[in-house]
């Protein structure tokens, strides 16, 4: 049976030790959010439930459920959103096709997720028995490109593609939208500021238009109808975001398409810029502050460069190029810090590549240790325990090394490997972890068998979007 299933786009572990509860492996695939037991791979919950139950009733053996996703998206862009909302409440398919971003609170109690097309930030509470309970959802004006929680866990920090960074409370309190006093409706230009014949004529038209507007009934504005603060702004596309606490001080780091990494103070002083880390020759794609060395920052860019920074000083400590290790051109799309009893390593993934690079981080900088080849493109990974066992989600739809050539049928969703320290450095060795096997056997949701090229292309760009961020110079 040749069939395709959605890959896991995000992997997280909700570490609930402090609550005296078992850890939960959180994953997203297609439009669903999944919870697994990380010790045996048992699926604990799926969200949203109503759609999923309809699916399982309709299909005993994973018949295609997602007849709609790509079409849905197209519809959404043309139709009014109000209609879409109604459909959702009618327990039809939800208004999104992917959950591209998730973040888990440090106590493992909350999961925050971005649902793609509807731009909603959703907060879930993980119950004692590891079920998702949706506490709230807030629709942002632009789609988020990165999410983080403040070190105290009280606020969600959201970076978007228009360069704005918002803070919203994790659990919103009462919010009364401030009534905006009647805005001056007339044009701000006057015959004193514009002089040409054409401009003066336009000004007359604007005055007429303003009068008409003033007589029109006021429109209800329901955008951002919840407590929110714009805390940082770049005149660029934001690509990544970090929050970190060091020596009793909180910071927010933001990376953008114009090569900048900005180091700002944490809330409520994010308007104070402490520094910029400047050095990347092209767009910054990923930021990572290792848990075991919070004074260091590893950043990656769209030309395969890795930088190591003393980020508080804005000082480059070390710079290496992936091209030194691998042949070809690469864009870094993932940097993960994995801390285990075996070793502390930095793992680096590349856009549309099945290779994963392993680096040792010390005072001398970053040293490449080993490279492992997966069966498909690396999408995300997570260290599941302290013994150095890592789960990687691989792209089940496209051929390894390609972002647009599709497989005839999907392989494994999750692969596992072990980090070991030998005499000649750190090694990554593939393992057959039964947990991963169990998750793979059950699988995720399936794609319809008759996707057309346009639908495939939409799915490709929703998963691999760095290419679109590259600059095309013109004058």
């Amino acid at each position: 049976m040749a069939s395709l299933q959605h890959p896991f786009q995000c992997l997280q572990v909700a570490k609930r030790g402090s609550q005296g509860l078992p850890d939960v492996l959180i994953a997203t695939a297609g439009r669903y959010l999944y919870a697994y037991n990380p010790t045996n791979g048992q699926r604990l919950d799926v969200w949203p439930q109503d759609v999923d139950s309809a699916e399982s009733k309709a299909s005993t053996a994973h018949v295609a459920d997602d007849t709609a996703p790509p079409e849905k998206r197209r519809k959404l862009s043309s139709d009014s959103e109000g209609q879409e909302q109604k459909q959702t409440s009618n327990k039809k398919a939800p208004a999104w096709t992917a959950i591209p971003l998730t973040v888990t609170s440090s106590d493992g109690k909350y999961v925050v997720a971005l649902t793609g097309e509807d731009k909603a930030i959703r907060v879930f509470e993980l119950s004692m028995d590891s079920k998702f309970k949706e506490l709230n959802s807030r629709v942002m004006p632009k789609r988020a490109s990165a999410l983080a929680l403040t070190p105290d866990g009280q606020n969600i920090i959201i970076a978007d593609k228009f360069g704005d960074v918002y803070s919203i409370p994790l659990i919103p309190g009462e919010y009364v939208k401030k009534v905006i006093e009647a805005k001056p409706t007339g044009p701000s230009a006057t015959p004193l500021t514009v002089h040409t014949k054409g401009n003066l004529r336009t000004l007359e038209l604007q005055k007429l238009h303003a009068e008409r507007l003033a007589n029109a009934p006021p429109q209800e504005d329901d955008r951002l109808n919840f407590e929110h603060h714009t805390i940082i702004g770049h005149v660029s596309v934001l690509t990544d975001l970090l929050t970190v606490s060091l020596a009793g001080r909180n910071y927010i780091l933001t990376g953008d398409r114009d090569e900048h990494i900005r180091v700002s103070r944490g809330l409520p002083q994010a308007h104070v810029i402490e520094n910029f880390c400047l050095g990347h020759p092209t767009l910054v794609t990923k930021l990572c502050i290792p848990s075991w060395a919070p004074h260091l920052l590893v950043s990656g860019d769209g030309a395969g460069n890795l930088f190591l920074w003393d980020w508080r000083q804005g000082q480059t400590l070390h710079r290496i190029s992936i091209q030194e290790t691998l042949q070809g051109e690469f864009m870094i799309n993932g940097i993960w810090d994995i801390s285990s009893d075996q070793a502390n390593v930095i793992l680096v993934g590349l856009e549309g590549s099945a290779q994963l690079l392993c680096y040792k981080l010390d005072e001398q900088g970053l040293q490449v240790q080993d490279t492992i080849q997966l069966s498909g493109n690396v999408l995300d990974l997570v260290g599941v325990n302290s013994s150095g066992s890592v789960f990687v989600s691989v792209d089940t739809l496209r051929e390894a090394g390609s972002i647009d050539s599709w497989k005839p049928s999907s392989g494994a969703l999750l692969e596992s490997f072990q980090i070991t320290v030998g005499a000649d450095g750190i090694k990554l060795s593939a393992t057959e972890d039964p947990v991963a096997t169990n998750i793979n056997v059950v699988g995720t949701s399936h794609l319809p068998a008759d996707l057309n090229e346009k639908q495939k292309k939409d799915l490709n760009t929703s998963l691999y979007n760095l290419e679109n961020l590259k600059k095309r110079a013109f004058d």
Partner: protein, 321 residues
């Protein structure tokens, strides 16, 4: 009629070539004429213009801009391997246009390096030619070769020349060696040129008003950009603004000072600035230059327009919380 553009371009190129030859020949120095450098007043600040900017302030090569201030020790180099200056650039005119403010400020702050940032190439070319000509004339004046100014190409009935500023025959303090202009998109790349607290003054003179509400995000004053200005300006430094659009003036005030009833519990760059008023403002010679010597301010005067000035002082960074 069918091909007005190429003819115009051809004329411009011819003119500029002539201008260069003339000045290279070390003869009589002519000021460049604006009509050959005019460019549409707006630029899209969000597009990827083919811009040149340094990787970081430590990479910036200022030596060609301020040859009189180059560090004599050739071993003192920038991160890009070019000669360093004896001092840092301290004053910035954001959107310097044809450079009137630069020329007006130069004798006022002869020992301070001043740079104008302008996104329009052609306008910047004018600024560079103008400064080059001014410097040449100052050299000639120093050497005792007095070269009287002739604006030959201007018809007799034309109004007072806009190029008046700096076309003086007198020697001025600093000899215009302390001013220069660079092409830059300030909204995106200010931190690439200037390090933390490097600047003592920023000028924003007659900024593009972007009248339409949906264009307001392209305005050069915003809460998020004010945070970047606060990063570049040292505590005690000042940001000067002037506009002829009353609504924009209020926009500036609104984006630099906390409004009544405004929720600033999660911080605001407004906390980093305080408005300068009263005697201090009146006695500031920079305000006078800003209000009278830029091309735009002269145009506003000619059209009997209003001028709205607002100056803000950079406060100390707040204590960490």
């Amino acid at each position: 009629m069918s091909t007005p553009q190429p003819v115009k371009r051809q004329k411009r190129e011819e003119y500029r070539r002539k201008l260069q030859d003339q000045q290279a020949a070390d003869g009589e120095v002519k000021m460049p004429q604006k009509k050959f450098f005019r460019q549409r007043a707006h630029a899209n600040v969000f597009s990827d213009h083919h811009l040149e900017y340094p990787i970081s302030p430590a990479h910036m090569d200022w030596s060609s801009h301020y040859p009189a201030f180059v560090d004599p020790d050739p071993t003192h180099q920038t991160l890009s391997g070019t000669r360093r200056l004896l001092k840092d650039v301290e004053v910035v005119d954001i959107g310097c246009g044809f450079g009137g403010l630069l020329v007006g400020l130069a004798p006022l702050l002869p020992e301070t390096l001043i740079v104008g940032l302008e996104i329009r190439t052609s306008v910047l070319d004018y600024v560079r030619s103008r400064i080059h000509a001014l410097r040449l004339r100052q050299q000639q004046l120093k050497q005792g070769i007095v070269a009287p100014i002739e604006e030959t190409e201007r018809p007799a009935e034309a109004p007072a020349p806009e190029d008046e500023v700096g076309t003086t025959n007198a020697l001025v303090p600093g000899n215009y060696e302390n001013i220069s202009g660079i092409r830059a998109n300030t909204m995106k790349f200010l931190p690439n040129f200037f390090a933390r607290h490097q600047l003592s003054k920023i000028f924003i003179c007659f900024p593009d008003p972007h009248f339409k509400v949906r264009k307001h995000k392209a305005r050069i004053v915003s809460e998020s950009l004010n945070a970047e200005y606060a990063y570049a300006v040292r505590p005690g430094g000042k940001l000067y603004s002037i506009t002829d659009v009353e609504e924009y003036h209020h926009w500036i005030l609104r984006h630099f000072t906390v409004q009544v009833g405004e929720d600033v519990s999660m911080g605001s760059s407004k906390f980093l600035w305080e408005r300068v008023e009263g005697e201090e403002l009146e006695n500031d010679p920079c305000v006078k230059v800003m209000s009278s010597e830029t091309e735009e301010s002269k145009k506003v005067t000619r059209n009997n327009g209003n001028k709205y000035v607002a100056v803000f002082r950079r406060k100390e960074d707040p204590e960490w919380v």
